[in-house]
Symmetry: C2
Subunit: 370 residues, 2 copies
């Protein structure tokens, strides 16, 4: 049934999707990749959910940057998410800009890009669109949904929204709600984009001159939150950029300045400013307890899904306390849950980086699921 | 000798100042306020040094905002820095925008505002300008230099640069160097300002349309670092702004968004964007150890100055570890130093807020100095 080429890039045109905000997307487009082979009873499918600025290019080269897939170290033949065993699906979330329906898509009502006429979406809306994709692929039950950061929120939302369709749930470096500080950092990013005159109220697609300066500042601010203070000190400290002494000017004197500027500018080559607005909004709106009468345990009552949670000790974006509160709720709901805090100098980004401990956790948990 | 009116607003035109960066400011202008009365032997003078966006309006109303002075709770008759006993001086740092020489000042070479032709300055340059002011006021030795945040860096730089002229040094919520993370946050703010087309390479003074959007974003990003995650959660959590439900739009739905936007916009009424660039640069360049052959203790060898350091447990901008490393250096240098970490939910800003413990530390230390 499924093409077995590695990293098969696909797109599906699905039906209408009713949104949490009240509107409807008339026709959902989902760009996705698959890896491995779906078995005869369609029981070996794993959905990997990506983070804020991630995409479906999980383990094969990104078409714009040429860089390896964002989780190539985790997903592949003989890797912790072993594509010799599992049929792995990764889809671009709605609201994003890599082929799934988002603000750059054509609004059928006008024949022009949505821009800010695109409806505000939620994490649960992303998950509902993924469920439509899973139907489309002929998969009834996912062996697992796996994700870090915003991907972990999608995994939690999957387990809460479609408990019959997900046997296991892996949640890395994530949270069940956005804190005031999380919202505050995102608001800085949004204001940076909206302050750029080239943003033009979101209607910049036809002009060919997008708000890259604002988007770069947004990315710089966010990027700091992905790294730990200790990690920044270890990597950069106060080292100067290719010179022996301070210039007493405003060029990038320090390596950390140069690094951040590069991160900001490079990001604008691969990401759409409006998508950044919509996805950060979805993150800020995320509060799984609120969706269940204020009680996080209510999201998981009676579930048969097995959970695996991992946090990192230097992650200050979604600190260990957030994972712990999820585990407490899972315990209260009587769910099967394992939890480990791993040590890493790399802060929030640790879940994307080489970590033999994380590999062992992932391998062991998926083996138990199988 | 000195006018005894409370909060006397003054300005002094001083001589030339040779700068760390190699240039010279031909004529240093310093705006300052004084409180209390200088005694006959000029032995009761305390210099209070302000933080990044502070000013000389220490304990009297700000002329633009009408708000009370930024440390009115600490400085006044019967307060911990008791103006019945002490002659208190607070001067606007060079580089700033409240009357001291800065990028908005007239460049004598051109007859027009300096803009980015203003020389890059250092914390030590600020302190050297203050020393000229102290000479001007007829004060040989300061009883104390007191400051929080960047003010604490000036206090440390005073003790290291003019050890004979400062008997005591109070350093609150500060550090002896800017970390990579500190630099990174400042670089985001600078890039936000410079990305604003109204910045015009710093030459916006004659246009009458300053880069307020970029400056507001810079302030929002910085403001998050002044507050603790727990403090933000306690104050705002996920509370919505004057409505019952999410709007599924991009207005300020959450109170924390509204608060941050207000902080950003209000800041632009009282602060100059170029000054923000220059002062953040001075902070990033600050590394007291580097000025003394890489050894912080070398900055204080043989000093007779007494030191009092205070940190706050939720301050993640200049965490307790930074104060502790200063104390270790002072101990290694054989200096007299006391140190306390205070508990507060308010993060870095705690030094500006009501804190009976801080009041007791300040009162006790200054009593011992007297």
């Amino acid at each position: 049934m499924t093409d077995t080429r590695f990293g098969l890039d696909r797109s599906a045109t699905l039906g209408a999707l009713a949104l949490d905000g009240g509107g409807t997307l008339a026709q959902v487009q989902i760009a996705y990749e698959t890896y491995g082979t779906l078995n005869a009873d369609a029981s070996n499918a794993i959905l990997v959910a990506h983070a804020l600025t991630g995409d479906q290019h999980l383990a094969s080269a990104h078409p714009r940057t040429g860089k390896p897939g964002w989780w190539a170290r985790m997903v592949g033949s003989g890797k912790p998410i072993d594509t010799d065993r599992w049929f792995v699906v990764c889809s671009n979330v709605i609201g994003s800009c890599m082929g799934s329906s988002g603000p750059a898509s054509i609004d059928p009502a006008t024949g022009r890009p949505y821009g800010m006429a695109f409806p505000v979406i939620t994490i649960r809306d992303m998950v509902r669109a993924q469920e439509m994709l899973i139907d489309h692929l002929g998969i009834d039950t996912l062996a697992a949904v796996v994700g870090g950061s915003m991907g972990g929120m999608q995994a939690l939302s999957w387990a809460a929204t479609f408990p019959q369709r997900v046997r296991a749930c892996v949640v890395l470096a994530s949270a069940a709600r956005h804190s005031a500080q999380n919202i505050a950092f995102h608001e800085v990013g949004r204001q940076a984009i909206m302050a750029d005159p080239k943003w033009r109220g979101g209607a910049y697609y036809d002009v060919g001159d997008p708000p890259t300066a604002g988007l770069a500042v947004a990315r710089m601010a966010a990027h700091i939150t992905y790294l730990s203070e200790a990690g920044l000190t270890e990597k950069f400290g106060r080292k100067l950029q290719g010179r022996d002494a301070k210039t007493f000017g405003f060029d990038a004197d320090f390596q950390v300045e140069s690094y951040l500027r590069h991160q900001g500018i490079a990001f604008t080559d691969r990401f759409d400013a409006n998508s950044y607005l919509y996805i950060t909004r979805a993150l800020d709106y995320f509060d799984l307890a609120e969706e269940h009468g204020g009680h996080l345990a209510g999201a998981f009552r009676g579930t048969a899904t097995r959970f695996c949670l991992v946090s990192f000790d230097t992650d200050w974006l979604y600190p260990t306390a957030e994972s712990r509160s999820i585990v407490h709720a899972l315990n209260a709901a009587g769910a099967r849950a394992s939890f480990v805090e791993l040590s890493s100098p790399y802060g929030h980004d640790a879940f994307l980086l080489d970590s033999p401990e994380l590999d062992r956790v992932m391998t062991g948990f998926l083996e138990a699921v199988r």
